[in-house]
Symmetry: C2
Subunit: 220 residues, 2 copies
């Protein structure tokens, strides 16, 4: 089954704004997030596992899948649905071996070279960017923009037999989400656009409306 990547909500204790992390995850999902990711680069392992278990429990009634950034150990301990890995994290081959065939595995792809090298048959979705400048993460490279995103999506389409969902990431909000979908993405990944909103449920709903309208135009 093709993963629904229309709105990938990433929750991060360092970028949760005034919201409680678990409540933020719940409210994003209630507003229409189709995938939730926990991204925690600083906490002790035990805290990460507690966060992951609490988010998993909060999302269960909403049937929204949940992945953990980088940490396969945390995903395994908490029973998450999968992981999202970057190019400096565990190699996808090892992740698939450790998590099994049914786990969701997402991979970050920042340029065409990485798209051409990616083990596309082993992953369920791609997060691609940074599309725009962002405040949520230090960016080593200049934003690739919608045009750069389109080139990566094109490179992935040439390589993958199955349709591989791609979401754009970095600096995406209501003002530019439509351009990301217009570039060929299947969805958007957001941190600040949800965590900085006074009501993340409303913010998620608006982003979903924009994404859904653009996908409808494309006829997918």
């Amino acid at each position: 089954m093709r993963l629904d990547i229309r709105l990938n909500a990433i929750v991060d204790p360092e970028n949760a704004g005034r919201h409680d992390l678990i409540d933020l995850a719940r409210r994003c999902a209630a507003g229409g997030a189709t995938l939730v990711q926990l991204r925690d680069k600083r906490s002790e392992t035990r805290v990460m596992i507690e966060e992951a278990r609490a988010i998993k429990q909060a999302l269960a009634p909403l049937s929204v899948p949940f992945v953990v950034n980088d940490r396969v150990d945390v995903a395994l301990a908490a029973g998450a649905d999968g992981v999202h890995v970057g190019q400096d994290d565990m190699p996808v081959e090892d992740v698939r071996r450790l998590l099994g065939a049914s786990a969701i595995i997402g991979l970050s792809i920042k340029n065409v070279g990485e798209a051409e090298a990616a083990p596309v048959e082993l992953i369920d979705y791609v997060g691609s960017g940074g599309v725009y400048a962002t405040v949520s993460k230090q960016q080593k490279n200049a934003p690739i923009g919608p045009a750069g995103l389109a080139r990566i999506i094109e490179a992935l389409r040439r390589r993958s037999q199955k349709p591989l969902p791609v979401c754009g990431i970095a600096g995406i909000d209501e003002s530019n989400a439509a351009a990301v979908i217009a570039a060929g993405a299947d969805g958007v990944a957001v941190i600040s656009a949800l965590s900085r909103a006074s009501d993340p449920t409303v913010a998620a709903r608006r982003l979903r409306e924009i994404v859904d309208a653009m996908l409808a135009k494309r006829g997918t």
Copy 2:
């Protein structure tokens, strides 16, 4: 089988002195380390896995077991023999569930309260301290000294049906290793005493001689 904890060599890229990390692990094992632990609190996950695989390969001809500090994901990916966890890392119950019955699991215990709460039936050894002041790690608590170590060992003996090997840790070198064994420990865990030595093999051999002589006196 009771784990041989006489000389637990901990190798850490931040405390490797002038040695290459993998070569340091090999030389410690060649000199008589009975357990090697990789402790890396800073590197990206992919680098940690590469380090762990290289150490595992280096130790294989010497038949010295190898554990990874904290990171169950790295241990699984690299096929390490087990993990060493602290009180802020993954709970031991989860580690045992994920790694299976044959894995080596070590636990850090800093005081009698932690000894009384520890799931002793699920672990293979204990690292207890900080016994002395150390330069290898930031210490939150005052050193417990050999007397504090003896109290922890006593608390563990009251709780455990099986003999549970305990090594002292922190600030241990040739000058004080005998006192650690005299306090009741079954071995010593060291970082700097090996990594700062010009020849880690010679340093490991000397530490083993001290530990072995003291254990022989005790008749174990």
